[in-house]
Amino acid sequence: MTNVSVMTFNILSVLPILVLAGFGMIVLFVDILFSKRLGDKNILAYLSLAGIIIAAIVSRGTTPIALYSFNETFVIDNYSLFFNFIFLLSTGLVILISHQYMKRENINYGEYYALILFSTIGMMLMASGADLLNIYIGLEVMSISIYVLTGLKRSKLTSNEASLKYFLLGAFATGFLLYGVSIIYGATGSFNLKEIADFLINKGDVTGPFVYLGVGLIIIGLGFKVASVPFHAWVPDVYEGAPTAVTAFMSVGPKAAAFAAFIRILMTAFGSTHYEWQKIVYVLAILTMTVGNVVAVAQTNIKRMLAYSSIAHAGYLLVALVAANTLGVSGMLFYLLTYVFMNIGVFAIVIILSQRNDGFMQINDYAGLGYKHPLLAIAMTLFLLSMAGIPPTAGFIGKFYIFSAAIKSGYIGLAVIGMINSVISVYYYLRVTVVMYMQEPVREFYPLTISPFIVAAVVISVIGTLHLGIFPSKIMELVQQSILTMR
């Protein structure tokens, strides 16, 4: 271990976390102290954005070596920096798209911004945790914030219901995760991913099924968070019931965080036993892609359709995890970044077009959009095409990397199933564009109030989707660097 520097209590390594925590508190205090004078509370959004930008500044750049701190329980390497970037980007975009929405739905609480920032702390901890305890705490910080955010529209029954479902099932799945952690602890004597890996390499053969049981249970817990079939059932209901801005938030950042932990745990700690967990993830990947895509075909509510599509995307990402090679992991990171842009872009447009109390959420409500608001329709089409994996969008490059990685590792069948699935997915993404361009409007588009915030989010997403699709090499280089120091 030459390229490792051990620091204890390096406060700098957790600086982004501290910044976010600080700004979360500031937002809360400003909200309480000046609530009478704030008016429409724009200042809270500005403050949160400022926090995110400062956090991004302090966690920017790359590091030549992996920096371990807090007794090797926390690590700053290019991998975690890359994920920090994804989290901050997605949180920033979500704040941009949610500001107007929160005002419209009358739930513009200061707590909303604080909770989103705190949740991001949890994600960062998950990506940087070099120790199962840190990852677990990060997971809980993230999840508990989202349970609350989901139920934020407390007078609305769907929001309550979504929150309750998510909470009960989330706690249930976390039980399995913890059980897995305890078994791993028993089998190896440590929570530290590196120590676990060392132990398994040296004495792994004596542990056998006991370790696999632990890994399997951890896969359940994280599989729940990434919405893998059969642990996915919460996704459609929660996505539908949660306030749309929160749906956008939880479809991106937490998913990326769960994948970050997933990759780090499976690749670092259990890299030597990958033949065992690959079997499990293989089956999960096929199920997830297929169920997600097939069921999405029959959906009529756009949020539900996006929920199933997000399940399907989790399936593609699991394909990369099965491949378990450098190309796969880098493809996965790349895909997660593209997913941020395209998914938040779609949700931004859904928010623009919906009305108070989540009216106009049916796909048919988009009829004729192509003529009434051509720019919105073009942006929406772009995001949907990207999700369907059609060039020259980012989604295509991401899928290309992922399926190439699967083929490279010899999982040709998996790649074929994945591509059949992406053919199916074209059907339901296309349906939205067909409705937008090839049907007569069934409703008046109210004079849409489009705030500059949300326009900025859409523009950033469009640029991101196109840029990653046309010039992916720079980012890919960065991604490749970021996984070098991981193992």
């Binding site: 305890l133 677990y136 705490i137 809980e140 508990i144 349970y147 609350v148 139920g151 407390r154 007078s155 609305k156 029954l157 769907t158 309550n160 219901e161 979504a162 929150s163 309750l164 479902k165 909470f167 009960l168 706690a171 249930f172 039980g175 913890l178 059980y179 952690v181 305890s182 078994i183 602890y185 028993g186 004597g189 440590s190 929570f191 459609p236 209901d237 539908e240 019931g241």
Partner: protein, 100 residues
């Protein structure tokens, strides 16, 4: 002589009972209590492992799980209260507007 296996078997039994409870109970609060039972089963196995491994980490982990459980309890019960305010029930079979 009580070995670690005894504790792990006990923990597995309690965990499974918790799982069964989640599957068959309808009162959201009781479902939540069954989840707490699962967590306790896990905690037991942590402490047992810690003891037989001569390690303190397991006990520390339990300390953190308990903290998390406290936080979850606060939020979870608040959610249940919010649901009850709107729907006058905590029967989770009545709480399914969203489906399909």
């Amino acid at each position: 002589m009580i070995t670690v296996t005894h504790y792990i078997v006990l923990s597995a039994i309690l965990f499974t009972l918790g799982v069964v409870g989640v599957l068959i109970r309808r009162n959201a609060i009781v479902v939540f209590m069954c989840i707490e039972l699962m967590l306790n089963a896990v905690n037991l196995s942590f402490v047992a492992f810690a003891h037989y491994l001569h390690s303190m980490n397991g006990q520390l982990f339990v300390f953190f799980t308990m903290t998390v459980a406290a936080a979850e309890a606060a939020v979870g019960l608040a959610i249940i209260v919010a649901v009850f305010r709107n729907k006058e029930t905590v029967n989770i079979d009545d709480i399914n507007i969203m489906k399909w």
